[in-house]
């Protein structure tokens, strides 16, 4: 009884599915159904919704075409072949789990490097370089203050000279000044 009723419903739907009037009425539903097509394909809708979409697909050509596209994607993905594990898969694995876990400084450093990454390490190197350069520059400049040490000047005079030094292309105490001094040592030799 149920199966014959089902047969009649199915037959009517097949007759109606290409009817333009039926398709017009479907337009209202289409947007809602098309949102559900992916879940319908994955059989993730509730049974009632699943049934509703099935019925709609029988009567609506545009939704049916959309569904067919999804189906083709699914079939195309099925063309990818399966790979098999190599014959040494388990023996290699057994060797790996039997060997003691790596401990020590090197794996720990590797781990730290993986976490913080190369950009962070580059920044640290840059900061260290700047600090060393500044220290080097200031210590070389201090060494060069020997004439002022032999002819002592008053505090106000030294403050004035110090303030004027900002107009130098390489003010004392900077990395640039240190670099220029080092370059001049190369030419003249150390004093």
């Amino acid at each position: 009884m149920i199966s014959s009723a089902g047969f009649w419903v199915e037959s009517c739907l097949i007759i109606l599915r290409d009817d333009p009037f039926v398709e017009k009425r479907c337009d209202m539903k289409c947007r809602r159904v098309q949102k559900k097509l992916s879940a319908y394909q994955d059989r993730e809708l509730k049974p009632q919704e699943q049934e509703e979409v099935s019925r709609h697909l029988l009567t609506c050509r545009s939704c049916r075409e959309e569904y067919e596209k999804l189906d083709r994607v699914w079939l195309t993905l099925g063309e990818l072949e399966e790979i098999s594990p190599s014959p040494w898969f388990y023996p290699q694995l057994a060797r790996r789990f039997k060997e003691p876990r790596k401990r020590g400084l090197l794996p720990a450093l590797e781990h730290i490097f993986q976490i913080i990454g190369a950009p962070a390490i580059a920044s640290i190197i840059l900061v260290i370089g700047l600090a060393v350069g500044t220290y080097l520059g200031s210590s070389l400049a201090r060494r060069d203050l020997s004439p002022s040490q032999t002819n002592p000047v008053s505090d106000s005079q030294s403050a004035f000279f110090a303030s004027m030094s900002v107009f130098d292309p390489a003010p004392p105490g900077t990395f640039a000044e240190g670099y220029l001094r080092m370059a001049s040592y190369g030419e003249k030799g150390p004093r």
């Binding site: 879940a39 994607v73 993905l77 063309e79 072949e81 790979i83 898969f89 694995l93």
Partner: protein, 190 residues
Amino acid sequence: MDKQLPNEELMGRIAKGDECAFQILVERHQVSLLNMIYRFLGDRTKSQDLAQEVFLRVWQGARDYSPTAKFATWLYRIAANLCLNELKSSRRKRWLQFFHAYTEKQTVGEEDFPNGSPSPEDSLLARERRRQITTALQSLPENQRMALILKRYDDLTYEEIARILSCSVSAVESLLVRAKKNLQEKLNIL
């Protein structure tokens, strides 16, 4: 030992150091796990290494395993995390290579595909077709790709995928909608 033992039972034995139970578990899941990783990374050698790494974690973490969820979900979760880490670290390696003015072209090579098609012409066409599919799959964003692989090849439910990817069921649904739409465009299914 009975090879039909359920995963949870095997895990209990592995926690006590039973290697035989571990071998049964590996043999049961190695093909699906290896293929899931391979489809995600597109590199055969790396997939073998990573699949071994996943099983190694299972061996090491067997004592902490509690059978609250399906074993496969737990296994795939480990695999998904390792795959995402692998992608991150390979991106970092690429950055370093760029830094050293050394470039390495990372393509899906033909050697990555298994041989065995009947005629040379068919084989060539099939290879080209598989290359296109793999390239399209690889071009998807990581989460979309992972969700699609778990649904298409492992037939997991949205709920299981959500647990693996640590997101909501509705997020999985929208990931899959977008992944399918992207693949339609990339594979010219219009």
